[in-house]
């Protein structure tokens, strides 16, 4: 059976030439970092060129240099993202704890399993930003409301993924653990948790992405209400006082933090589940 299916995949495999970009020869020889650096510089250059030559008002479209200045200043005085990151971290930690409790409950009891599947199917389709009005009503215009919506947004993807991870642990590994006479905690820590790690990481990745989008959106709403700090407030405040480079700096910050966190997840995966062959790189 095994060899049969292998033959089949081989016969349907694409010929070498398909899927390869033409003209990749010269460009493709440079290292990845260099290729991307050249592209980024080219885009920035085009931007600066357009701003200098077209005579657009700096009020509408500031040049990259102005944006970079605003970016550095915003980071230097901490107005730009420190409040946002702090709120996000608190939200992530609480959300992970809630997800962990739900998952543990779901793994050990049938009631918990049903409860988790009911809650996720009911609440997961509701975007976290949709419950922001409720959060403001309950907690007021303050960080607690923000933390509440972040916790809400990240709990479900993490809980779903982690519990799927535990449910799909290879039964042979569990038997190996039982054969060694491992107790509950050791079994969980040494066998179940590492075996569920690929799902756990992808749950955290999704949770983080949800949380990040949610906090930016929620802060923008707060910014419109003229309250609080953080990225969303920074962008709205800058717009209000026509400090347009700062608006751009805010958007760039959002992109950069997103890229940075993705890179961290990628690095963690390379060092763990990809290295162990539990996930394809």
């Amino acid at each position: 059976m095994q060899s049969l299916s292998r033959e089949r995949t081989e016969s349907t495999a694409l010929p070498d030439t398909i899927g390869k970009k033409s003209g990749g020869g010269y460009w493709g020889r440079f290292p990845t970092v260099a290729r991307y650096a050249v592209l980024v510089l080219a885009l920035l250059g085009a931007w600066q060129l357009y701003v200098s030559l077209s005579g657009t008002q700096a009020l509408i479209l500031p040049g990259p240099v102005d944006v970079a200045k605003a970016f550095v200043e915003g980071w230097a005085d901490g107005r730009l993202a420190s409040a946002t990151l702090k709120t996000l971290c608190i939200g992530m930690v609480i959300g992970m704890a809630v997800a962990l409790i739900l998952t543990a409950f779901a793994t050990w009891t049938k009631v918990g399993e049903d409860l988790l599947s009911l809650l996720t199917s009911m609440l997961n389709p509701v975007p976290a930003i949709a419950i922001l009005p409720l959060a403001i009503l309950w907690f007021g215009l303050n960080p607690t409301a923000l933390i509440f919506v972040i916790v809400y947004s990240i709990t479900w993807p993490i809980a779903i993924n982690v519990s799927t991870g535990f449910e799909t642990v290879n039964p042979t590994l569990v038997m190996v653990g039982r054969n060694l006479g491992l107790g509950g905690w050791r079994m969980a820590g040494d066998v179940l948790f590492p075996a569920a790690l690929p799902h756990t990481i992808s749950g955290l990745r999704t949770g983080w992405a949800f949380g990040w989008r949610t906090i930016v959106a929620a802060e923008l709403v707060f910014g419109v209400a003229g309250k609080g700090g953080g990225l969303g407030f920074f962008i709205n405040d800058a717009r209000y006082f026509l400090r347009i480079p700062e608006v751009f700096a805010g958007i760039v910050t959002i992109a950069l933090i997103g890229i940075l966190i993705e890179a961290i997840f990628n690095a963690v995966e390379r060092r763990t589940v990809i290295r162990w062959g539990m996930m394809n790189g």
């Binding site: 038997m175 054969n179 491992l182 040494d190 162990w276 062959g277």
Partner: protein, 271 residues
């Protein structure tokens, strides 16, 4: 090294494992599917006993019951005088599946971890792990992760891991069943060598007559499910001379036993 007669001589006193009138089943939708109807046999220390039977006859189920993974519906399994069998490292199991190794541990860690988990010191675990990895010919691969190994190497690691625990009995559930014929033959030879050196007692499940003859001292032949023990055959040394009359006779005997229900016995399993 013990020859046949000495081994039979040892078979006075108490067996290490005794299976008596054991009935085994698993529950499907509330009613019990009987896999093993009535099984009985004994295993004495130092012996290699093969459980041979057609696919689906419950031989793996029987092995899992000895390992303590499931309880008999009826009858008694007693191991070293104990009857309340729970899974334990004194009956180390080698499974058929290649993915029985921990993917996040290297070859050496896969062998050392069970030793640590069963209370050996760090030094002892690492020293023993190295010794058994070497014994199974994997010294060059100690730092590799399981996904970097071939199927045959994975099974070697699993055998090293089980042997390192120094179990009173090694339980093997068709460990070579998913290997190609060449690798299987090589691993059978290696297993014989290793079990000779460690003098471990082995209970080995297989559906291959060839394997039973090459590895076993005795063969317990099971019929179709709900299975009973059809015959227990002495085969020690039968495979020593593949052309001998005794070998041909034993092989014929086993073929006949397996084919009793008019079933075609695939001679391809005998290479």
């Amino acid at each position: 090294m013990l020859d046949t007669r000495e081994k039979q001589g040892l078979r006075c006193g108490y067996p290490l494992l005794s299976v008596e009138n054991v009935k085994l089943g698993y529950r499907v939708n509330g009613h019990t599917n009987v896999a093993v109807g009535n099984a009985g046999f004994q295993v004495w220390p130092g012996e290699k006993v093969m459980l041979l039977g057609p696919s689906g006859c419950g031989k793996s189920t029987l092995l899992k019951a000895v390992a303590g993974f499931l309880e008999p519906e009826d009858g008694v399994i007693s191991f070293a005088g104990r009857q309340d069998l729970r899974p334990g490292p004194d009956r180390a199991v080698v499974f058929q599946e290649f993915d029985q190794l921990f993917p996040w541990r290297t070859v050496l860690e896969n062998v050392a971890y069970p030793l640590r988990a069963t209370g050996r010191s760090r030094d002892e675990a690492s020293e023993k792990a190295r010794r058994f990895v070497e014994l199974t010919g994997l010294s060059h691969a100690v730092d590799r992760y399981p996904h970097q190994l071939s199927g045959g190497m994975k099974q070697r690691v699993a055998i090293a891991r089980a042997l390192a625990l120094e179990p009173r009995m090694l339980l093997m559930d068709e460990p070579f069943g998913s290997l190609d014929a060449q690798t299987r033959a090589r691993l059978q030879k290696e297993l014989n060598e290793v079990t000779r050196r460690t003098e471990v007692t082995v209970l080995f499940v297989t559906h291959s007559i060839q394997e039973a003859l090459v590895l076993g001292d005795r063969v317990v032949v099971l019929g179709h499910a709900p299975s009973e023990v059809r015959e227990v055959l002495e085969v020690t040394g039968a495979a020593g001379d593949l052309d001998s009359k005794r070998f041909a006779w034993t092989r014929r005997q086993l073929c006949n036993l397996l084919a009793e229900d008019g079933e075609e016995v695939d001679d391809a399993v005998f290479e």
